[in-house]
Amino acid sequence: MEEMKLEANKELNILKRSSSQIGSLQWLKKNLFSSWSNVLLTIISAVVTGYILFNTFQFIFTADWSVIAVNFRLLMIGQFPVAEIWRVWTILGVLTVLLGLSWGLWKGSMAHVAVSIGAIMLIMVAMPFIQMSTRLILGGNIVLLLLTFFIGTKLPKLKIPVIAVWLLYIPLTIFILNGFGVLAPVSSNIWGGFLLTLLIASVAIVISFPIGLLLALGRRSSLPVIKYFCVIYIEFIRGIPLITVLFIGQLMIPLFLGSGVEISNVLRAMIGMTLFSAAYLAENIRGGLQSLPRGQYEAAQALGLNKTYMMTFVILPQAIRAVIPACVGQFISIFKDTSLVAIVSLTDLLGMGQKLVANPEFLGKQMEVFVFVGFVYFIFCYLMSHVSRRLEVSLGAGHR
């Protein structure tokens, strides 16, 4: 009996193996050489791929990356004073702890984010030009990430505190970076590099979401004054390019606020980005509101809920869930669009790159600098779009 089973298993294995061998050949035939035109296409695209890959590798290995190595700190955190650099490390540490805990607590998409951030840190540790102290701190962060992951898996009670700290994270970051009287002030005018890119993007995302929600609700309101105000705002902003919104921010906000109030360049750019992205998010959220069947509204009314309760407990949770992937897509474009602040002479990652290229010391290094800048943006955008695709699957939004 037992032997027979073994025998059968063996046969099955052999069958499997041979089928997988035939499988790969068949796969090749089916996917690359199914017809004469297909063979031709395969050959042409193989030549194109080879040419592109060859040139890319040639560029990567022959380019002079010292310009990035020398200016790595400038590109990452701009001219943030070296003596105060511990603040940047502190906020990165808090971020690591939060990521690690969330990874342990929720797993799923969070795991992808945490692992990717950890991998980026690991790659940075491996880079030859990174200072020893930086390497140690980054290494410590990786250990911290893993440690807090285990704490997270063991202590599910931490969920609510972790959410609270996430909500407080951006105000906390800005407080630590700026000082606000408690610490020595570091004016936002010297914030720069990738740090500034991240700050502008996250402030714009976090603040524009509630505004967008209100605008979306307002647009569907039955009160004509509120409805048309929201419609006009949304269509107006969506009709003009971001650069004009940034110009409005830079040139007209100081005018509007009068001479009494002084606000920095960075804050003006943040306001511009926020006002801009709120209109786009509003349209995304409206899509979610419209996708809900009428029955949901009617059921809520039948239960005797008033409008506020109906919105907070029945409609919004479902609508927001439905539009999370679309919103992440919007966040990606906000993140990419922050590069436009370089035009209004802020030194974000791209602006810093521009400054480096203008420096006669680094003449002729444009390709290296901008390819590096583009690569950093690419990594983060790709990561976000990957997470958004996973969310789409896990939320089941794609199946409805």
Binding site: T49, I240, L255, K336, I343
Partner: protein, 388 residues
């Protein structure tokens, strides 16, 4: 004693909405009034009165690329018109090129050839996940500006590459161009009439009448007649050549223009490719299977079954991609191509008229957006399903 139940006014369903709206309007108006009063006050302090009279003043700056004649002695108003035309030029050519490339990449992504579809995926992922401005900078600062000087320009066929720009062959109208135009229109009309008539006969009699082939043949015949009659081509093609410190003949595309056009086309094409892929995949599988069951060829299936249904899904997102391209063309300001934003910036610097110039820019873009969406809506209504 009769007791009437009266609801207090703050719970009255007829009054509360009105009160809310009045309150909201009052808040918005008060905010608006505060901001505008501040602005007018601040402008008066630096001696500027709002108004568009400055548009009649002499500009005094030069615009290197312009579709209409522009001299430094011309007015600011004319400068802004030049800027608008330049924006339109990028938008028009950009939309055509990006649609072609996007269609190509979108279909390539759906190809059943693994390598082709992977190549398309990589193309889409790389170019859509890198900010447009970074791509513009790479093309402008790292590719086009380091090209050799004009004296040592690279020659690739009839095309010249130099740091002064790319010179391509260009056509020019001559005395017989109008005749050619008439010939083409007549040819097209005859071809359409032939096609329709023969198609009708074919449908009625059920016998093959070759409508498509006869239409093409009739068109070619008329073109040949035109050729014999005029003894010239429709246009003369000028190939560029280097002369001293500039190109002669052909069309010179400045580095700024080329950079913005190339990056806009590539960046937008990735989004259009995804739109087209989603549109084709959005056609229910049953439709394709039904077409197969009817015995249609795959090209006929594509033309008569997939395309007409896919186009309905494609058009709305395609419209917003075209609008994005128009809006993104404003990034030309970063590489010094003088579109409306760039010209506006110069005017702002010279006159200090920030409010007016920004209002003009906003008006221009809103008009573009409005016109594009009206046109696309009309087109959309034409292809929409007529449900019974």
């Amino acid at each position: 004693m009769k007791k009437t139940i009266t609801t207090p006014f703050w719970r009255d369903k007829r009054i509360v909405p009105i009160l809310l709206q009045v309150l909201f309007a009052a808040l918005v108006l008060a905010g608006g009034y505060y901001f505008i009063a501040n602005a007018i006050n601040g402008l008066q302090q630096i001696g500027i009165n709002l108004g568009f009279n400055f548009l009649k003043n002499t500009s005094g700056f030069t615009i290197s690329e312009s579709m209409i004649d522009f001299q430094p002695t011309d007015t600011y108003g004319r400068a802004i018109i030049v800027g608008i035309l330049n924006t339109l030029r990028i938008a028009f050519i950009g939309i055509i090129l990006t649609s072609i490339i996007g269609l190509f990449v979108g279909i390539a992504k759906l190809s059943n050839n693994w390598l082709v579809s992977k190549l398309a995926t990589v193309y889409i992922e790389i170019f859509r996940n890198t900010p447009l401005l970074v791509q513009i900078f790479i093309w402008f600062f790292a590719v086009l500006l380091p090209l050799p000087r004009i004296e040592e320009a690279l020659k690739l066929g009839p095309v010249f590459f130099s740091n002064r720009g790319i010179a391509i062959p260009w056509f020019e109208a001559h005395s017989n161009t109008i005749l050619w135009g008439i010939g083409m229109i007549v040819g097209l009309m005859v071809a359409v009439i032939f096609f329709k008539a023969l198609m009708k006969k074919q449908l009625e009699s059920g016998k093959r009448k070759y409508p498509f082939i006869s239409a093409i043949v009739s068109f070619i015949v008329i073109i040949l007649i035109t050729l014999i009659f005029t003894k010239t081509g429709p246009v003369t093609i000028h190939t560029p050549s280097v002369s001293g410190r500039g190109f002669v003949g052909g069309q010179t595309l400045s580095p700024g223009y080329s950079a913005i056009l190339i990056s806009l086309v590539i960046y937008t094409s990735t989004f259009i490719a995804e739109v087209i892929r989603a549109g084709i995949q959005g056609v229910p599988k049953g439709q394709i299977e039904a077409a197969k069951a009817l015995g249609l060829k795959s090209s006929t299936t594509m033309r008569l079954v997939i395309f007409p249904q896919g186009i309905r899904i494609i058009i709305p997102p395609l419209t917003s991609q075209y609008l994005n391209l128009v809006k993104n063309s404003s990034l030309a300001v970063a590489v010094g191509f003088q579109d409306i934003v760039s010209v506006g910036g110069t005017v702002m610097n010279q006159t200090g008229r920030a409010v007016e110039v920004i209002s003009i820019m906003i008006a221009v873009y809103l008009t573009f957006s409005l016109i594009t969406s009206i046109l696309m809506n009309i087109f959309n209504q034409k292809v929409q399903l007529v449900e019974r």
